[in-house]
């Protein structure tokens, strides 16, 4: 007696719960490993999972076992030259362990690291664990212009695609019962009268009455027949209304200085920072648009490729970029509908008196519209005028303005974490 069952359509994630339990239990280990790997790997490939290793001793499941020492006999296959009584030098490092544990060797003895893979989702969860997007909720409440259709009961009007069959048939049945009832009653009376008439003695029968009743019955039957099975009057439609829903879209402006002082290494660091921010936004919003603005003395909106790879020379006027961003917001991204984020990367150089212009621009116009402004300065040197100007913006908008300095690529992740650290809710 045998039978086959095709289990392939069944769910495959039977181990999902156990997997989560494991990740939960070794959270701190995994987090450490993830942080290391974020620093190590280029952020362009954040979009994949990660191999994580945990010291095997930390996750071992102990049981009583024999330790090294004592006398043990091991039978092994494949003897070539040994003869009984031969003496062999103990392999170095064996420490009395000899040639191993014999059959117990299969159990992965001597593996120091437990290695496994996190999926992309799990990896990013750990990367962004403990981080938050400031002011996300405030915006969501404000912006109610987006709508989505929601079911809102049944209506008599609608398009055929939304017909509610059950309700329509129920209406039809009710109508049929209602309309037939008086006719059926009349029919039954007429039939009874006809029968009574026909039961009478042929002499007493009234032929005129009989034919009158017969035509009446015929008329009633026709009327009953004529009642439609389904009438337009019966049709019911699922009604949809448009419910406003919180906006869940964001724009991220990437501003980068591409003047001569920015080397490719600087840009790489900037790029990684932008990518990290993009990934983070992507996890919080359904839709994230990117706007790339690069500047030297003049600012220009460009595509991604050009943003990161084209080279420019010349001086630096930061306010040109801020002005351009402001006008783009005016033209395309109404602050009521969009969550606006600006990320700026620069080496801190700026035209002498431009920094105060930047301060003005930010203070008077931009900061009111933005969700969050992050500024990273990629320089090992001392800060210049721009940093000081921004510092006073930070003082004015401590909730929505953050700035950090990055010296080398390894700093990106810690700086990023610092910028988006979960703040205690006031």
């Amino acid at each position: 007696m045998s039978y086959f069952i095709d289990r392939r359509p069944n769910a495959r994630n039977k181990s999902a719960v156990n997997r989560q339990r494991f990740l939960q239990r070794y959270r701190s280990h995994i987090k450490r490993a993830v942080e290391e790997s974020v620093n190590r790997r280029s952020i362009t490939d954040m979009e994949r999972g990660e191999k994580v290793s945990i010291p095997a001793k930390d996750i071992s499941e102990p049981s009583f076992q024999h330790g090294p020492g004592g006398r043990r006999t091991v039978v092994s296959p494949g003897n070539r030259e040994f003869a009984e009584g031969d003496r062999l030098r103990r392999p170095s490092g064996g420490g009395g362990q000899g040639s191993g544990e014999g059959q117990a060797g299969n159990q992965g003895e001597g593996v120091d690291e437990f290695v496994f893979s996190l999926s992309r989702e799990e990896f990013l969860d750990f990367v962004f664990d403990g981080l938050e997007l400031p002011h996300l909720e405030r915006k969501q409440l404000q912006v109610l212009e987006e709508t989505r259709p929601v079911r809102a009961g049944i209506s008599k009007e609608g398009v055929p695609a939304r017909i509610n069959i059950v309700r329509s048939m129920r209406e039809a049945q009710a109508r049929r019962i209602g309309m037939r009832a008086p006719l059926k009653r009349a029919l039954r009376e007429a039939q009874e009268a006809l029968e009574a008439e026909e039961r009478k003695d042929p002499v007493l029968r009234n032929p005129a009455r009989v034919s009158e009743l017969k035509s009446e019955i015929e008329r009633l039957e026709k009327r009953i027949e004529a009642i439609p099975f389904l009438d337009t009057y019966d049709l019911r439609y699922n009604h949809l209304t448009h419910q406003p829903m919180p906006s869940n879209q964001a724009v991220m402006f990437c501003i980068m200085d591409v003047s001569g002082s920015m080397t490719q290494a600087h840009k790489d660091i900037g790029k990684r920072f932008f990518l990290l921010l993009y990934l983070f936004l992507e996890r919080n919003y359904e839709k994230v648009e990117l706007v790339f603005v690069r500047h030297h003395t003049v600012a220009k909106e460009v595509d991604e490729e050009e943003f990161f790879y084209s080279r420019e020379t010349g001086g630096t006027i930061v306010s040109s970029a801020l002005t351009l961003v402001d006008s783009i917001i005016e033209a395309r991204y109404a602050p009521e509908q969009w969550n606006l984020y600006v990320a700026q990367a620069s080496d801190g150089d700026n035209w002498d008196d431009d920094s105060s212009t930047c301060l003005e621009l930010l203070d008077e116009s931009l900061m009111r519209k933005l969700q969050y402004f992050t500024y990273v300065e990629i320089t090992p040197h001392a800060h210049q005028a721009l940093w000081e100007a921004y510092d006073s913006v930070r003082a004015a908008y401590p909730e929505r303005f953050a700035m950090q300095q990055i010296v080398q690529a390894e700093d990106i992740y810690p700086v990023f974490r610092e910028l988006f650290r979960q703040r205690a809710k006031g």
Binding site: G70, R71, R72, T73, V75
Partner: protein
């Protein structure tokens, strides 16, 4: 015998072909008197196979992080191509559940049907250990019960509390079996029915045991020997509890740990019952795989002889079979211990050879089976032995020579290793003896038993470890004692014995810890 048309050719399978082959293999198996449970053959994907691996082949199990760990490591090895998944997995249940991977070729599916659905299946049904220790018809129900019960406890007492308890129990799961007593079979129905009753009863038992108020005189009373000076009335004179050493640590804890809640005792019991279910498998690896391999080899050859599979499938089969039973030498980079498939297959094939065409040597070594009916003898061997005794009984000089077995002694009192025996006349018996011991559970796992629960004194629990050939306990000892302490609730002491003398003492919590000064 009339040659017939092959049922199917090529490497793609479909359900019709599988059913036809299953039918053909089944008919041949009956010819060889393979008695099996009904087969429930399930086709699964590789992901599902990884799930099955992670739950140690149980079709359903309670949740625990260690299964997640298992899953992750299998997944890692598989994704990186470091290991292939087994082509099949079979569960000792009635009906016998066998998983076939969809990626397998037609040949592989037929091979697996022969190997698992008739080889392993008949072993589960026939071998005395499985008959005594497991109840194939009840296991799936019991697993469902266990999963539900653990889930209920997680709801009531929190995931973490349950997890910690399971961690502690898992550390002791190899010590959850009475080796010399026939166990009562597991039954889910009965478990549920009697559970409440048992909880209440158990608790009263434990309460009675611990109702004695500890009254230490002059500090902690550790020695049960009577101290007439301080205790002239003999208040502390009592027999040791338990009166006999207990090898089933989990059972002892379930019944006697003073502080466990009823639900905690129930979970200890679940782990113990499942450990019991796997107990025969740990002792019959060589036999079980050898038996299944012998039969897939025999049945595949018969299918070919009868014309039901063509040369293409047969060649593919031989290639696969050869790699399954290959045994790299000890100095090969591929060496990973003795391959149970290779050893088991060699031994069963050799028994068949001894029966069919015995040599003088065989007549001398195996007078009672040389020349006997091979099928009869093979069934006898399968039914009545475990790895240890099977090797002791049936490992022939021929197999020792074929595998070129040798035995090596590693003694820490000696600064060099010594070859004790090789495959020659003087060595056969010694190799057989040594290999048999190598598969004996009692030599593989340290022998640790409950010696005394100090129910009148400090309530400490003393375990005794009887050293086997002076082998001490490994470092994992302390974490395990910590778990024991969590379950018992009072100090744990462990004594290593060598020839009746205590050679080492261990204690948890470690006595000079801050706990006492605090």
């Amino acid at each position: 015998m009339t040659r017939r048309e092959p049922i199917a050719t090529g490497s793609d399978w479909n359900f019709e072909a599988l059913e036809a082959y299953e039918h053909a293999v089944g008919a041949l198996a009956r010819e060889y008197r393979l008695d099996t449970y009904p087969n429930q053959i399930e086709i699964i994907t590789s992901e599902q196979m990884m799930d099955a691996y992670a739950s140690v082949g149980m079709p359903i199990g309670y949740h625990h992080w260690s299964f997640g760990k298992q899953f992750l490591s299998v997944e890692q090895a598989y994704r990186r191509g470091q290991m292939g998944l087994a082509y099949e997995l079979v569960i000792n249940s009635d009906p016998c559940i066998a998983y076939l991977m969809e990626e397998n070729s037609l040949m592989m599916q037929v091979l697996v049907i022969a190997h698992a659905c008739y080889g392993h299946n008949s072993f589960f049904k026939g071998n005395y250990l499985f008959r005594a220790w497991t109840d194939a018809s009840a296991i799936v129900d019991y697993l469902v019960f266990a999963r539900k019960y653990v889930a209920k406890c997680e709801e009531r007492h929190g995931v973490e509390a349950v997890e910690q308890l399971l961690d502690a129990c898992h550390a002791l799961q190899n010590y959850g079996v009475d080796r010399y007593k026939r166990p009562s079979p597991v039954s889910a129905e009965e478990e549920v029915r009697r559970q409440d009753e048992r909880e209440a009863y158990l608790q009263t038992q434990v309460n009675r045991l611990w109702s004695t108020i500890p009254t230490p005189i002059g500090g902690l009373v550790q020695q049960p020997s009577h101290d007439f000076e301080n205790d002239p009335l003999g208040l502390h004179r009592h027999d040791r509890y338990p009166s006999e050493p207990q090898e089933n640590l989990l059972y002892f804890l379930e019944k006697n740990a003073p502080l466990l809640e009823p639900w905690q005792r129930e979970i200890v019991r679940i782990v113990r019952k499942l450990a019991q279910y796997f107990y025969p498998q740990r002792q019959t690896q060589v036999m079980n795989e050898g038996w299944a391999t012998f039969w897939h080899y025999t049945l595949m050859n018969r299918l070919y002889d009868d014309g039901l599979i063509d040369e293409g499938i047969m060649l593919e089969f031989l290639q696969s079979h050869t790699s399954v039973v290959s045994q790299p030498g000890f100095d090969s980079p591929y060496f990973n211990g003795i391959n149970p498939y290779a050893l088991g297959f060699a031994m069963f094939s050799d028994i068949q050879r001894i029966c069919q065409s015995p040599t003088d040597e065989d007549r001398e070594w195996f007078p009672e089976i040389a020349g006997s009916d091979w099928l009869e003898t093979l069934h006898f061997a399968m039914q009545n032995f475990k790895d240890e005794s099977f090797i002791q009984q049936f490992l022939s000089p021929q197999v020792i020579r074929d595998l070129k077995l040798f035995s090596l002694v590693d003694d820490d009192r000696d600064d060099s290793l010594q070859i004790e025996a090789i495959h020659d006349d003087r060595g056969y018996r010694r190799i057989r003896e040594a290999l048999s011991v190598q598969y004996a559970l009692s030599a593989r796992e340290p022998n640790i038993q409950v010696w005394e629960a100090d129910i009148r004194g400090d309530r400490s629990l003393t375990l005794r470890h009887v050293q086997d050939r002076r082998r001490p306990l490994g470092q994992s000892l302390f974490p395990v004692m910590r778990y024991l302490h969590q379950l018992w609730g009072f100090p744990i002491k462990l004594e290593s014995m060598e020839e009746g003398e205590v050679v080492r003492r261990y204690q948890w919590p470690i006595p000079e810890s801050n706990r006492e000064s605090a």
